[in-house]
């Protein structure tokens, strides 16, 4: 693998290129990520969308180099511009090395899906948040405490002075997620990864938490990578969206463009399954079947077994390439690839409108 530290575009804080991740398991080799690429411009926010099992979380884990046991990055590069300006390829670093540990939590922080289980039940919140500062700053004990209380205040936890010493299970879900955000912000990271930050929360709380994340991102000018299966969440949070299926990008577009003009059948299915608050009442669509095990990747286009708009044999024999349809709008589908687009047009229209 070549070293590509230097080749990083100025505006980007993260450039991931052709990432492959493999797991060895009893049931075979799991292949959660298959050539995923994306960029995050500094201070901007991107979304990664897809169903569960599409490899979104694995992408986040890859960035932090905390893949579960048996996981390995087998190909690709993940360049990161650190806070001090240094550019590193995360894929090349020793996962347990000094440098990687400083990047984890220091340059890149993460908010997890389940605030209930993401905190240790037997340590106080203060203990767990202060730890970040102990690792990534040289603050004294008193300063750390001040800072943690400050962070609690910042994320809107009432009575922060006494609440920092509480245990996670004493908090409500929303409060816990606020604490999680406080923890993620503790070391003033350059990149914040939010992995389904609101899935486990009540609907009323979801909006508050999302608003808080957005607010913090703006306030500290952090790059945000929001991982979600919920396109509804994406709309107000991010600038650019990557739609992911079985570990690869099937469509990528600025958020408005994507909503306006979804090209990939998968994106369309996803959009269809979002309940609409306005417009005519219609039955909520669902995508047929479920994401196959990554132990057995389907041949050809990976979406073809579930696709309602296959163009023909090429769908399971050929491999579609990612092509740029409009500016900054990429799609990976034979419907849109130059050589096959013609033959599919008709089928596509009819089925989609039906």
């Amino acid at each position: 693998m070549k070293q590509n530290n230097a080749e990083m575009k100025d505006g980007n804080i993260v450039e991931v290129e052709d990432l492959y991740v493999r797991f060895s398991r009893d049931e075979g080799i799991l292949k959660p990520i298959n050539g995923f690429s994306f960029n995050i411009p500094a201070g901007s926010s991107i979304g990664v969308v897809g169903e569960s099992g599409c490899g979104k979380t694995m992408t986040a884990y890859s960035l932090l180099r905390i893949l579960p046991r048996g996981g390995q990055i087998t190909h690709g590069s993940m360049r990161l511009r650190r806070k001090n300006g240094e550019v590193v390829d995360l894929a090349q670093l020793d996962a347990d090395g000094e440098k990687m540990r400083h990047i984890r939590g220091g340059d890149v922080a993460m908010i997890f899906q389940e605030p209930m289980t993401a905190f240790s039940p037997v340590h106080t919140l203060y203990d767990q948040i202060a730890e970040v500062l102990e690792i990534h700053s040289d603050l004294s004990d008193q300063d750390i405490r001040k800072r943690v209380v400050e962070l609690f205040d910042l994320v809107g936890i009432p009575d922060p002075e006494s609440r920092v010493d509480a245990y996670a299970f004493e908090f409500s879900g929303g409060m816990r997620q606020r604490a999680m955000i406080a923890m993620a912000l503790a070391s003033e990271p350059a990149l914040l990864i939010a992995d389904e930050p609101t899935t486990a929360l009540d609907v009323t709380v979801q909006a508050q938490v999302l608003r808080l994340i957005k607010k913090m991102q703006r306030k500290f000018n952090i790059a945000l990578m929001l991982i979600t299966h919920d396109l509804g969440v994406i709309a107000h949070m991010v600038d650019y969206v990557y739609v992911m299926y079985m570990g690869e990008v099937v469509e990528a577009a600025p958020v408005a463009e994507l909503f306006k003009n979804p090209l990939h059948p998968y994106t369309r299915d996803l959009l269809n399954s979002v309940p609409k608050m306005t417009g005519p009442k219609q039955e909520l669509a669902h995508i047929k079947g479920s994401v196959p095990s990554s132990a057995a990747l389907p041949p050809g286009c990976m979406f073809h077994p579930r696709c309602t708009r296959r163009v023909g044999e090429v769908c399971w024999t050929g491999e579609p390439a990612l092509v740029e349809m409009n500016k900054n709008h990429y799609v990976r589908c034979f419907i849109h690839s130059p050589e096959t687009s013609g033959m599919s047009r008709h089928a596509e229209e009819t089925e989609y409108d039906a």
């Binding site: 899906q113 289980t117 340590h123 690792i135």
Partner: protein
């Protein structure tokens, strides 16, 4: 927290009452009673005994009272600090049990420590290096320990200890130190002997604990909070010790309670094989001779210690696990 302790202590009382009743019932089951043993003893000395004398002996030890009166007398004694009276030995149970209980507890504590010292690194390492060769080797050894009958291990260790280390056979103290005042040399001698029962009694429990720790740790290692902690940039060893180990260690704490019955069982059989001056052989003897107050009191002491041990481990658990504390 106070409520929790109070509730746990209150719960002990009915348990102990039930245990004492069950024990009293059980020790009545075998045929014959302490008097027949006493007679056997007298006959072994060459005496002949009359029926009247037997009746007198029975009355003297209140063995002709109704069973519930006997029970109440026995249990009532405990409140006055009277552990009962051995008919066969013609001695207070407390005198007989005294030192032996000390040695038994010494072996118990030693076995628990041995179990911990062996089980912790083994279980830890097995979990961290799951499916590695060492994991398999440790697992096999843990299983071997579990599978070897206590008495066999004791017998073989006693033989090896004698043949290769010159440890005198049986007992806890070499003959040359018997009756000597306590000294450093005697202590060393005691340690030279006591490791065998400790190892034997501890081995059986080690396997289970290794397996539990390994499974728990593997479980905990996959918990989201571990990932959270990793994402913070903690060193992995620090992380494992601070988070999953802290939770997976609970079985070690709760061992204190549930290991005691196993240790007493182990002590009974190892004590018999190795001729230890512990409580186990005395119990076996008292069961054989139907010395029911002695047997009953020993069983009750063991059970009460167990109940107390469980209480202690529950409290310890509560101390380290806020979830229980705040429950």
């Amino acid at each position: 927290m106070f409520n929790y302790i109070a509730r746990r202590i209150l719960l002990m009382i009915p348990t102990l009452v039930a245990i004492s009743m069950l024990i009293f019932f059980l020790i009545q089951l075998p045929p014959g009673d302490a008097i027949t043993s006493r007679l056997a003893q007298l006959q072994a000395e060459g005496s002949e005994i009359s029926e009247e004398a037997i009746a007198a002996l029975r009355a003297r030890f209140y063995l002709d009272d109704p069973v519930h009166v006997q029970y109440l007398r026995w249990v009532g004694g405990f409140f006055r600090g009277d552990l009962g009276y051995s008919v066969v030995h013609e001695q207070p149970v407390s005198t007989l049990v005294g030192d032996r209980l000390g040695y038994t507890m010494l072996i118990a504590v030693g076995s628990v420590l041995f179990t911990w010292v062996i089980a912790f690194p083994l279980g830890f390492y097995s979990a961290i290096r799951q499916y590695s060769t060492s994991d398999y080797v440790f697992t096999i050894f843990a299983f071997l320990g579990m599978a070897t009958p206590n008495f066999l291990l004791a017998l073989v260790l006693m033989y090896l200890g004698h043949t290769y280390f010159g440890i005198s056979v049986g007992g806890l103290i070499s003959p040359e130190f018997m009756g000597q005042p306590y000294s450093f040399a005697k202590l060393v001698d005691l340690l030279k002997h006591i490791w065998i029962p400790m190892v034997v009694v501890g081995t059986a429990g080690t396997a289970g604990l290794v397996r539990i720790l390994r499974a728990n740790l593997l479980d905990e290692l996959q918990k989201p909070y571990v990932i959270t902690a990793r994402a913070k940039g903690l060193k992995s060893l620090n992380l494992i010790f601070k988070y999953p180990v802290r939770i997976a260690i609970n079985p070690f704490i709760s061992t204190v309670g549930w290991m005691l019955p196993a240790i007493f069982s182990g002590d009974a059989i190892v004590g018999v094989v190795l001729n230890l001056p512990t409580i186990g052989p005395l119990l076996l003897e008292s069961l054989m001779t139907q010395d029911m107050y002695l047997a009953g009191s020993i069983l009750l002491i063991m059970s009460a210690l167990t109940v107390f041990g469980t209480l202690v481990s529950d409290l310890l658990l509560a101390a380290i696990d806020p979830r229980i504390r705040y429950d």
